[in-house]
Amino acid sequence: MSDLTGTRTFVRFFARRDLLSFFWWIAGGIALYLLTAAGVDGVYPTQADYNAAAKELAGNSALIALAGPANALNTLGGQVAWQAGLFGEIIAALMSMFMIGRHTRAEEESGRDELIRSGVVGRFAPQTAAVIVVTAANLVLGTGIAVALMAYGLAGAGSIALGVGAAGAGLVFMAVALIAAQVTDSTRTMYGITGAAIGVAYLLRAIGDVGNGVLSWLSPLGWGQQMHAFDNEIWWPILLFPAVAFILAAVALRVANSRDIGAGIFATRPGPPRAGSFLQGEKGLAWRLQRGMMIGWAAGLLIAGLGYGSAGGDVKAVIGDSGVSKALAQGGGDLTDSFYATAILMMALIGSAFTISSVQRLRAEENAGRVENPLATALTRFRWVSSHGVVAALGSAVVVGVAGLGTGIAYAFVSNDFSQVTRLLGASLTYLPAVWVLGGLSLAIFGLAPRAAMASWLALVFCFVMMFFGPTFNFPSWLIDVSPFSHVPLAPVDSFDLAPMLVLTAIAGGLSTIGYLGFRRRDIDMT
């Protein structure tokens, strides 16, 4: 029996089981490009509008750090490539990560793999099948993007370059996910490692794009943009994707060869036979369960902050047309400050992802059946919910705080002005109440509609879109104002204002209370 026996069966099984998930990922990815094209078309009716926009956007470091190098922004294609390209690549990368996770580690962890393997299937059959299915999905996504953009009326070469960029990033991060799946023995950690790799790639190209560009070449997310879609395409970076994906996959295979089923390379070490006195309380337990995730997020945002901070010297900002920039222009701060205001807002939004997953930890515990036993002790529902709530709230302060701290420290060294440390730290902390509102919303969803946990992530995406694209796409201002972040003064450009922070904190508290009251009335639901 070869190591691959049964691969075909697995391919069919995976493809059938996940058809719907793949459909949503792919449709969502394609929709991103099409909606961007339609949006840009609507905002810039004439070539003169395009020219004006291109001129304003071209040198805006903050937006370049966010979305990539500004090429051919005086054309529809160039705008689509700039606004959608990077995020499309990230969607492909996330799709690959989740699907590989589902088919390799998650299967092994739940023990199904052993069952399957006791039958007559090869050792690498499930992984190989997962690779085949995910590769196919990425190719479909890439082709779909290219065809959709051509159908929209954009030039063929540029459309293909964008499709290649997305599919290529998907393939590279599929290989990263394969390695991650081999070196750890938990699905959560595997997602953590791959997610961190995506984050580092994003950051490398952000710093590279703002600076001299070298670091962008180290990032698989940068390669697609180096193809200059709709701007005299350069084709050779295409070769980087399969080459790097192949090398990484070969590494994963090597690692897989040398490990037992179900055990990562970093095998689990024995733990202490007794619990320390802090761990024995519910607060200690919540902290213990969440500290790994919090430290990971804090480290990631610290690095991001240091990256942005050190780029401060290179900022060649021209205030552009983007929503944030417009607001900045009205605020009339200095250009470096406006760069940092955007960077800190973005890091606060990213930090909210920690807050949401921290609150949703409640749901994860419930769903995994791990709360039944604790709640059958003298532990009250209130104490349980608040233990995780407190970790989420304080953890958010740390995660968002270190982002500002990192920015401040790095910029202090660049500018020799050490007052920047407290100034930028303070700027990041002004977003804390807005971040808490998302946490409170997530808690309310947990209490009232636990199975709709996904909705808290939609809320984050909504805030992100409103803050960065709302004004560009002329969304009505009441809609933009639904995002709690739009009520926070853009620190450090605008001056500090306590009132919105108090109101937002009160809203967060109200939402949390609703969440708790909902949870108190409902069943423990493990399905």
């Binding site: 689990t268 733990g271 024995q280 039944e372 036993n373 059958a376 009335r521 423990i524």
Partner: protein, 305 residues
């Protein structure tokens, strides 16, 4: 003596599923009460309602004289629970989990903790993710048994335990009983129920079909009789509660409802009994009957079979 658990007309629905349908259940203080029923009959649901994890739609549930949904935390200091499917935190060791659950409950008995770890041969330094199914079950058992409580609620506590550990478990439950604890034990393992339980309740489709001591329940089933008599026996088919009758010359074999046994033997003795083999109903038979489609042995029409 008041009842430790008293459930009356309890209803719990999940959407269109009626998981508990007018359920009655009573567990007296100090007894070990077996709770049996086919898969999906509502045993775990009953237990979750009793623990205040689920909210009943209607009916009454009383635990140690209090209402679980309202007084859950106070009640929980006085009881310990072992779920049927134990999930542990992947990164915490078994010893840590035992301490955490014990502390959250209000403290545990150190000597007993050490003793139980020893008897169950459980390594407390392994991480949750690396325990086998049986060992996860042991972690929850040690945590529950090492705390000083009045009531133990155990949902299939021995699923996954090997026979050696099963016997350790039975010893532990007997000790608990000797100390005057009440135990509600849901189980599919009949030998365990027979060895431990004072009384049992059988539930089907969310409804209590039978409660009583094992000998009372045995009474409800049939005894198999093979008899040789001096004169050829006749008139057996005229008796009530006779099934599968075969007569060959002086020999007869048949099943009889256990509560009609006396009448049958009296009838046979008129022919001069020379030898008689009687097989009491097995527990398996009893449960197969209760779990299957017939709800009472007498309600069947298979007497001609």
């Amino acid at each position: 003596m008041s009842a430790a658990v008293e459930v009356k007309k309890l209803v719990k629905t999940f959407g269109s599923t009626r998981a508990l349908d007018d359920l009655d259940l009573k567990v007296e203080t100090g007894e070990v009460h077996g709770y049996l029923g086919p898969n999906g009959s509502g045993k775990s649901t009953t237990i979750r309602v009793l623990l205040g994890l689920l909210r009943a739609d209607s009916g009454e549930a009383k635990l140690l004289g209090q209402t679980p949904w309202k007084n859950a935390p106070e009640l929980h200091q006085r009881l310990a629970y072992v779920p049927g499917d134990v999930s542990l935190w992947p990164k915490l060791s078994g010893g840590e989990v035992i301490d955490i659950l014990g502390k959250l409950r209000g403290g545990l008995d150190e000597a007993r903790r050490a003793d139980l770890l020893d008897r169950f041969e459980l390594d407390p330094t392994k991480k949750g993710a690396t325990y086998s199914k049986g060992n996860r079950q042991k972690v929850a058992l040690v945590a529950a048994l090492s705390s000083d409580v009045e009531l133990l609620i155990l949902d299939e506590p021995t699923s996954g335990l090997d026979p050696l550990m099963e016997s350790v478990f039975q010893d532990c439950i007997r000790e608990e009983k000797d100390r005057g604890r009440t135990v509600l034990l849901s189980s599919h393992i009949l030998a365990e129920v027979e060895a431990l339980c004072d009384r049992v309740s059988i539930i089907r489709d969310g409804h209590n079909v039978e409660s009583g001591t094992l000998s009372e329940l045995r009474h409800l089933t049939r005894t198999a009789i093979t008899v040789e008599t001096a004169a050829p026996p006749s008139g057996i088919d005229g008796l009530e509660g006779i099934y599968g009758l075969k007569v060959e010359g002086n020999r007869a074999s048949f099943d009889v409802d256990t509560h009609r046994l006396d009448a049958a033997i009296r009838h046979l003795s008129g022919f001069g009994i020379e030898s008689l083999v009687s097989q009491p109903p097995t527990l398996e038979e009893l449960f197969l009957r209760q779990y299957g489609d017939e709800s009472k042995p007498e309600a069947t029409a298979d007497s001609a079979a």
